[in-house]
């Protein structure tokens, strides 16, 4: 077996390729490569991207043992490592709040860390030490299940482009000042915050994703925003608070985003936008807005319908529209004001680019059908309209179909798909 004639195939490849290969291996395999031969002994130690997860330790039944093993593996790896570390990712359910993480963060802050991802397990949330705020070169920060409090002297991450906070405990002023003190921030994602009132000032922000209980959102300075996705969970209190609010949420949200290309609004979004809406034509045109997705739109609330209409009529480039309804046929006891569609509905709007429409969770309530009719009549280049009835609605389906057949279509190529699972 010891064929000394056969040359070693791989060890003489240049260091950059070796690093490229080692960096594509799970960290455990990469570190094990140190016992392959003398040339490989310290090859892995200059890797700049370190990704740790629960696969680094062999599974067994003892939880404390797993924790201990993972901690010692990471500690030893960091200790043996040479050179800068640009990316450190730790995704684990075994560790929550242990003192070693503080030490690792201190070490990383001295190693020129640029991307830091920390996803910890459920339990007691880890309190981020202040050394994190000394990581001057940070370009990407992702935290999950931590407590976070910037010190008062903190001036911001000057190079931070991407910030993702998921289930992070942090004071509202701290968040706002953090966002506004990161001048090149392009990507912001905040999830699972409780009762947060947020004003976003980020002149370079391009992608925004918000999910949680927000009492108030104001996009004050986000002129570059390209895409936004918002999911607002409302409790009874916040709903009441909304009713009483006088400010126009639509403007607060969509008043300053002229470059917007994608808008995705999850549950309660249209309701939120409907608050404080003043009638009359909107002065803003979203000339780049191509994709609109609105979920859980209640077609029994006239105000929400108005919001939807306002959005689509001011988006001349709209190509794709997705709407899911959340109406209940049983609740429609009062006769809906169908006259609206005949009289007040804007007549001169044509959706010149609208190609694809998807309507899901349709209950067949009159306003839904009128809306579909409105779309079909005003979309000359429509290619596909797909309608999926709500799973709870069984008996109205036939009626829906019959009505659908009657609608005029402005587009000769329009296919109407009635989707039954």
């Amino acid at each position: 077996m010891e064929d000394t004639e056969v040359r070693d195939l791989i060890s003489d490849l240049p260091q950059s390729i070796m690093e490229s290969i080692l960096s594509r291996l799970p960290i455990r395999d990469a570190v094990s490569s140190s016992i392959l031969s003398t040339k490989w002994r310290y090859r892995w130690t200059t890797l700049t991207h370190l990704v740790f997860d629960d696969n680094c330790v062999k599974g067994c039944n003892d939880r404390a043992l797993l924790e201990g093993n993972l901690i010692s593996f990471i500690t030893r790896t960091l200790f043996l490592h040479q050179g800068p570390i640009h990316k450190f990712q730790l995704s684990t359910s075994y560790l929550q709040c242990c003192p070693e993480i503080d030490q690792w963060l201190l070490f990383l802050s001295r190693s020129g860390i640029k991307e830091l991802v920390l996803e910890l397990g459920d339990g007691e949330w880890f309190r981020i030490p202040s050394c994190l705020f000394n990581c001057k070169k940070l370009t990407r920060l992702e935290l999950c299940r931590c407590e976070f409090e910037p010190p008062p002297s903190f001036k911001g991450f000057l190079y931070l482009k991407s910030l993702n906070l998921y289930q992070v405990l942090v004071g509202p002023e701290a968040i706002e000042s953090l966002i506004s003190s990161c001048p090149v921030l392009e990507n912001l994602s905040l999830s699972y915050f409780d009762s947060l009132a947020l004003t976003v000032r980020a002149p370079n922000l391009k992608y925004l994703c918000l999910e949680g209980e927000f009492t108030d959102i104001c996009l004050e300075n986000t002129p570059q925003l390209l895409a936004m996705s918002v999911a607002m969970y409302m409790t009874e209190d916040t709903a009441e608070h909304f009713e009483q609010s006088s400010s126009c949420n639509f403007m607060k949200f969509l008043g300053g985003v002229p470059l917007l290309e994608r808008l995705i609004g999850h549950i309660y979004f249209t309701k939120y936008l409907s608050v404080g809406n003043r009638p009359g034509k909107l002065q803003i045109t979203y000339s780049h807005l191509r994709v609109i997705e609105l979920y859980q739109v209640s077609f029994e609330d006239m105000k929400e319908i108005l919001v939807v209409l306002r959005l689509i009529t001011n988006a001349p480039s709209l190509t794709e529209l997705k709407i899911s309804g959340s109406s209940h046929t049983s609740a429609a006891t009062e006769a809906p004001d169908l006259a609206f569609w005949a009289k007040e509905c804007p007549k001169d709007c044509t959706f010149k680019q609208l190609k694809c429409v998807t309507m899901t969770d349709m209950s067949g309530v009159p306003h839904e059908m009128e809306f579909i009719k409105f779309l079909l009549a005003n979309s000359p280049v429509l290619e596909e309209m797909s309608i999926s009835p709500c799973v709870y609605v069984m008996d109205c389906r036939m009626n829906m179909l019959i009505e659908l057949l009657k609608f005029r279509r402005a587009s000769g190529q329009a296919e109407i798909l009635f989707v039954q699972e």
């Binding site: 056969v6 070693d8 291996l25 094990s32 031969s37 043992l65 593996f73 043996l80």
Partner: protein, 361 residues
């Protein structure tokens, strides 16, 4: 031919060619657009004006052999066509990359010297896929890597962070033996003989180690340890001494690199202290190797030394091979975390069940 015909034919004939010379001296002609896909060739053409004729052929780096060049050109020829979809390209890449490892490494090297990054990425990914999940022995075999780290270097705890319990056990063994050797050397003048002198031959010893240890109680608690030890045949015990001593010599012979291990501090001569250690794995290794008062002749003949060398390697390999199964057993047995001990001989008692399944290497 009429002028119109010439005008029609000419564009195809006008395709320009580039001359490339590989390290072995052979020169070939390649379509310019294909060759330009490689940044290095592109650079040579643009900056230095080479390649336009046979005399001024672009000399390719040494790592690009003619076979590799033709592979690379195939790759370039496919990918430089702009109209292909991503799916097509991926499909091509998957098929392209199917080759034996030797060629894959050569291709990586060649692509790197031509600065063709997409191909380097593709081959690196393929190599990483080959390496992933394999044991070091398998990797060494695939890539013909020399196994030139000493056993000790492989087991040095600071250097090997895979946190393998086996490795820590072997570390302890070595550390313990070294320590005993040191102590023995100090006590050279003092003569304390405990048991009987073992008169058995080397062969007997080895056969004893390899297969005859019928002491088959697997799991023992530390309390019972001393009892068990005394129960043993004193002659057997002495023979264990002999082997352990030889192991010590052996490890000495390997040349302690003077590294300090945590194991040194933790390893004590008494069983009870070992049992205080927390990790189950640490306690698994039976501390029978430490023998208090046995003084054994320091001279070992070379033949025995060789045998011992083999024995240590064998032992390490055996631990490596069936360790996962052992661990499973241990952990399912030892829920209360009581320290478990096994006989120190290579053929541990746990393995009696698996002896028939074990393949001796």
């Amino acid at each position: 031919m009429s002028e119109v015909d010439m005008a029609v034919i000419k564009p195809e004939m006008m395709k320009s060619y580039i001359w490339l010379q590989t390290a072995d001296g052979s020169i070939q002609q390649v379509e310019q657009e294909v060759a330009m896909f490689c940044p290095m060739i592109c650079h040579e053409i643009m900056q230095k004006g080479l390649g336009s004729s046979k005399n001024y052929a672009i000399s390719l780096p040494q790592r690009v052999s003619p076979a590799m060049l033709s592979l690379i050109l195939d790759y370039c020829r496919f990918h430089q066509v702009p109209g292909r979809s991503n799916k097509e390209r991926k499909c091509f890449d998957e098929k392209f990359i199917r080759m034996d490892t030797k060629r894959l490494c050569e291709l990586t090297s060649a692509a790197d010297s031509l600065q063709l990054k997409p191909l380097v990425d593709l081959t690196s990914r393929a190599l990483a896929r080959i390496i992933e999940g394999k044991t070091p022995e398998e990797i060494r075999e695939i890539f013909h890597l020399p196994d030139d780290l000493t056993e000790e270097e492989k087991l040095e705890p600071l250097k090997n962070t895979t946190d393998d319990p086996r490795i820590r056990l072997l570390n302890r063994l070595y550390a313990k033996k070294r320590k005993e050797l040191k102590e023995r050397q100090k006590k050279k003048s003092v003569e304390v003989e405990d048991g009987c002198v073992d008169e058995r031959s080397v062969d007997d010893l080895l056969s004893f180690i390899n297969g005859e240890n019928a002491d088959s109680k697997g799991v023992r608690t530390s309390k019972n340890k001393k009892k068990n030890r005394r129960r043993r045949d004193p002659q057997k015990r002495a023979s264990i001494d002999q082997v352990a001593e030889s192991h010590k010599k052996d490890s000495n012979g390997l040349g302690c690199l003077g590294h300090t291990t945590g194991g040194d501090n933790e390893s004590h001569s008494t069983l009870s202290e070992t049992s205080k250690l927390q990790d189950i794995e640490d306690d698994i290794f039976d501390q029978k190797v430490e023998f208090d008062d046995v003084d054994i002749d320091d001279e070992i003949d070379p033949a025995l030394k060789e045998e011992i060398d083999r024995e240590v390697e064998d032992f390490a390999r055996r631990l490596n091979s069936d360790w996962p199964e052992r661990m499973q057993e241990l952990l399912s047995l030892g829920q209360d975390r009581s320290p478990v001990h096994f006989s120190s001989n290579g053929n541990g008692s746990l393995r009696k069940k698996r002896r028939d399944l074990m393949v001796e290497k």
